[in-house]
């Protein structure tokens, strides 16, 4: 098992090396355009289902025995619409990215297939169709992760991803087979109709297995290990699709199977979701705040945000199982809204990181810097994403995190020890997550884009081409909607909430007007008015300052003060490592960094230092504790089994004969 090295090696710059002259430029446009069109179709279909009638589609001949069955309802619709919206931005972006980078034919051809499979997962109306779409999604995403398979890190990430995603699939497969066996049919409709007859043992088995399978897709702890490996190593449009759309499918599975088909479950289901969510959120953001690889930072931030969504889902389930539907509706709204806003800002974040990668060949924050002058548009766009991810007001993630905190704070817990304990602890977890998230995003933006370039590659950066900027601008516009005008999403969310489990049709959800009001809870906020007030305040302050300065002499220009030294060098700047060092020190027991310092003296004197070498590496502690023993055990077992594989054909024929004999004896 390889460990995550603190300073990852530079990735070879995209666009370097010999250009493949045989590749027509049209391929990139075709693949990207098709992806965008599929996205647009998905968005339109999703919205039409949310506001219109549910749609059904049966194709009997496509799969033997059961056929393919699609049932579209508003819950699936919102996931289809979100995936579609992400795909539009990514498709347009991919045109420019594929031209600038060296994307081979196979991944270019796989991209639209991947998007299609992601659009089909939430549309599936039966277990077989769902599993088929799910597996196509897993396989195509693996092919896309392996786009740059000539690099060793990519192959290692690919193996990790392949094993974990297939183990997750096995868990889901087992769960759904048990469910359809006990539920009397293959279609979700049939299972829902027979759900009351399920024994509690079946329910528990299915819940635990699906939580494992879907949790690993959503990147929840401790099954997150593939995420910070595969997302950074995949090409950036693929990272955006995986991080903003594919992880959502894990959440979709939890909502559809656990909360809708099986629900309402016992109290401990909600509690389990909350615990896993809270741990994932805190651990993810902690790793993000000490990461120095820009894309790895964003990947850990995905774990964090999926943790928050799961926490909100768990809170909604727990609250509704204790008979507090109003607050549960707020938590459910928070979960949905955060899922959607995360899709918006994470798409933008990964696309902006991709244009940095395409321009410099660098993901290492310690080597970046000074991009604000060289790539102004990308800098502003990444800033919007970082603001959204940090959960501050005027950012895309603020409204949903505010809703989540409101639901946790205002949960009724008269004489209920469980709620009285769980809710304040969750508030603490969310607060810690948000605080560390701000540190992580301030680091990513400040160290990566501001100040002076720390390497020649960063100094030579050029702005991204128009199609990449267009894709990013679309994602930024979506971020702006979540930040300033969630009122535009009010009707959509209302339609979805009405069909959602744990909420119930009659419970009054939060009113997402120009002013957000929470019924039954003394809380209201207006992000639009907040933004307008900020603009007015800035204009006023600038105006007053200019008016006050009209009689002052012109400002003098003085050289920078460098404590008497001649010039400031980029090496004097804060790096991502030094920025995160205090945090790393505080969370030493959790992160367990491996730090090594070596001081070399001059041969002439012990008092004169020739050089100081400082090395620090941060491995994922969960990975080391939980995964390493498993991998060791499997390896030992495999070594043992290998003794039976001598390479002799005669022996293998004997094994076959022996096996047949045993089968015949047993089946006698």
């Amino acid at each position: 098992m390889t460990t995550a090295v603190h300073t990852p090696p530079a990735v070879p710059a995209l666009g370097e090396g010999p250009r493949d002259a045989r590749r027509p430029r049209g391929e990139a446009a075709l693949s990207g355009g098709l992806t965008a069109v599929l996205g647009a179709v998905g968005l339109a279909l999703g919205l039409s289902v949310i506001f219109g009638e549910p749609r059904h589609l049966r194709i009997g001949w496509l799969l033997p025995l059961v056929g393919v069955r699609f049932d579209l309802d508003p819950l699936g619709g919102v996931f289809i619409a979100a995936t579609g919206a992400v795909s539009i931005a990514v498709g347009i972006y991919a045109v420019g990215y594929a031209r600038r980078g060296r994307w081979a034919r196979f991944p270019l051809a796989t991209l639209p297939v991947f998007v299609t499979s992601m659009l089909l997962v939430p549309a599936a109306g039966s277990v077989t169709t769902f599993l088929l779409a799910w597996e196509v999604m897993a396989a195509t995403s693996l092919a896309l992760v392996l786009s740059e398979h000539h690099r060793g890190a990519v192959r290692s990430a690919g193996i990790f991803y392949a094993i974990m995603t297939q183990l997750g699939f096995v868990a889901i497969l087992l769960a759904l087979v048990v469910l359809s066996g006990a539920g009397g049919g293959d279609a979700f409709e049939t299972i829902a109709a027979h759900a009351d007859g399920l024994t509690s043992g079946t329910r528990t088995t299915v819940f635990l297995l699906t939580l494992m399978g879907f949790g690993s897709k959503a990147g929840l702890l401790p099954l997150h290990a593939w995420l910070p490996r595969a997302h950074p190593e995949a090409p950036s449009p693929v990272s955006a699709l995986m991080s903003a759309a594919m992880v959502n499918m894990g959440i979709y599975g939890i909502i559809r199977i656990d909360l809708q088909l099986l629900g309402p479950g016992p109290h401990w289901w909600g509690l389990t979701l909350m615990i896993f969510g809270a741990i994932s959120a805190v651990f993810g953001v902690l790793q993000a705040s000490v990461a120095t690889d820009l894309k790895q930072l964003l990947a850990y931030s995905t774990t964090e945000n999926m943790g928050l969504v799961t926490l909100a889902l768990g809170a909604a389930a727990l609250l509704s199982s204790f008979g507090a539907p109003t607050v549960a509706a707020i938590a459910m709204t928070a979960a949905l809204l955060h899922l959607l806003s995360h899709a918006a800002f994470k798409t933008l974040g990964f696309l902006a990181a991709g244009s940095v990668l395409a321009a410099t060949g660098l993901r290492d924050l310690d080597k970046l810097g000074g991009l604000a002058r060289r790539m102004p548009a990308t800098t502003v766009l990444f800033g919007i994403a970082a603001l959204g991810a940090s959960g501050l007001p005027l950012g895309a993630g603020f409204v949903s995190e505010w809703l989540l905190l409101q639901s946790l704070i205002h949960s009724p817990h008269d004489d209920n020890t469980l709620l009285a304990l769980a809710m304040p602890l969750s508030v603490g977890a969310v607060a810690l997550t948000t605080g560390l998230g701000i540190a992580a995003m301030a680091k990513a933006f400040g160290v990566g884009f501001l100040a002076r370039p720390r390497s020649p590659a960063a100094r030579a950066a050029r702005e991204a081409p128009a199609s990449m900027l267009t894709g990013m601008t679309l994602a930024a516009a979506a971020c702006a909607v979540f930040a300033f005008a969630p009122v535009l999403l009010a009707s959509t969310l209302q339609q979805v909430l009405a069909v959602l489990p744990t909420v119930g049709g009659d419970a009054a959800g939060p009113q997402l007007g120009t002013i957000l009001r929470l019924p039954g809870v003394a809380g209201s906020i207006s992000p639009g008015v907040l933004a307008a007030a900020l603009v007015v305040a800035v204009v006023l302050a600038l105006g007053i300052a200019r008016w006050g300065a009209r009689h002052r002499p012109a400002a003098a220009v003085a050289p920078l003060w460098a404590c008497g030294a001649d010039a400031l060098s980029p090496r004097m700047q804060y790096t991502a490592t030094s920025f995160a060092e205090p945090l790393q020190r505080v969370f030493d027991d959790v992160l367990r960094p491996d730090t090594d310092m070596e001081v070399t003296h001059f041969a002439e004197s012990q008092y004169l230092v020739e050089k100081v070498t400082y090395r620090t590496s941060l491995a994922d502690p969960v990975e080391q504790r939980f995964y390493a023993p498993v991998v060791r055990a499997v390896t030992t077992w495999a070594q043992w089994v290998r003794r039976a594989h001598t390479g002799s054909v005669h022996l293998y024929l004997a094994y076959g004969a022996l096996g047949l004999l045993i089968v015949l004896l047993v089946a006698r």
């Binding site: 003098a556 003085a558 460098a562 001649d566």
Partner: protein, 159 residues
């Protein structure tokens, strides 16, 4: 109540103030009794530094006349330079001078700063402070006493 008894027993420590000397130069900020000073050691033997720290100690207490040492030349009105200017410190001295906003005052403290003193014409020496930057006030002595330094500072603070 030990500390009150101690105050009574020790009595007044600070040197009594002399009569104010005649002002040689107008306070750079235009306000009497407010002079922010950045000190630069251009190559001193640290004798002058000891006396400067004595001048700002509770016994001599230069701050009661409105002189303060500050940490950054950006905050300063005056530069307090000591020692001969060595080759290594020539550019930093110039950089520091340029970092002090105008109008500013340069005060050279000690014989070395005024005319090179015992180190004049040394192999690593560029010259006196006056050879590198324009000097407004000179405080002779090797080293000058805290009283002499305070007297020179009072000619600038105007108090």
């Amino acid at each position: 109540m030990g500390w009150i008894a101690k105050i009574a027993r020790v009595g007044r420590m600070v040197e009594p103030a002399q009569n104010a000397p005649e002002a040689t130069i107008a306070p750079p900020t235009g306000v009497a009794g407010s002079l922010q000073i950045r000190h630069v050691d251009a190559g001193s033997c640290n004798g002058c530094e000891l006396e400067i720290s004595g001048a700002f100690s509770p016994v001599y207490d230069a701050e009661r006349f409105g002189a303060r040492l500050v940490a950054s030349p950006r905050h300063a009105d005056a530069l307090l330079a000591t020692g001969v200017v060595t080759r290594n410190m020539r550019q930093p001295l110039l950089n520091t001078l340029h970092a002090v906003p105008e109008p500013r005052v340069v005060i050279a403290v000690g014989d070395c700063a005024c005319n090179g003193g015992v180190f004049a014409k040394g192999y690593g020496v560029v010259g006196s402070v006056g050879d590198v930057v324009p000097v407004d006030v000179e405080v002779p002595g090797c080293p000058p006493t805290p009283s002499q330094i305070i007297t020179a500072l009072r000619t600038v603070t105007g108090r």
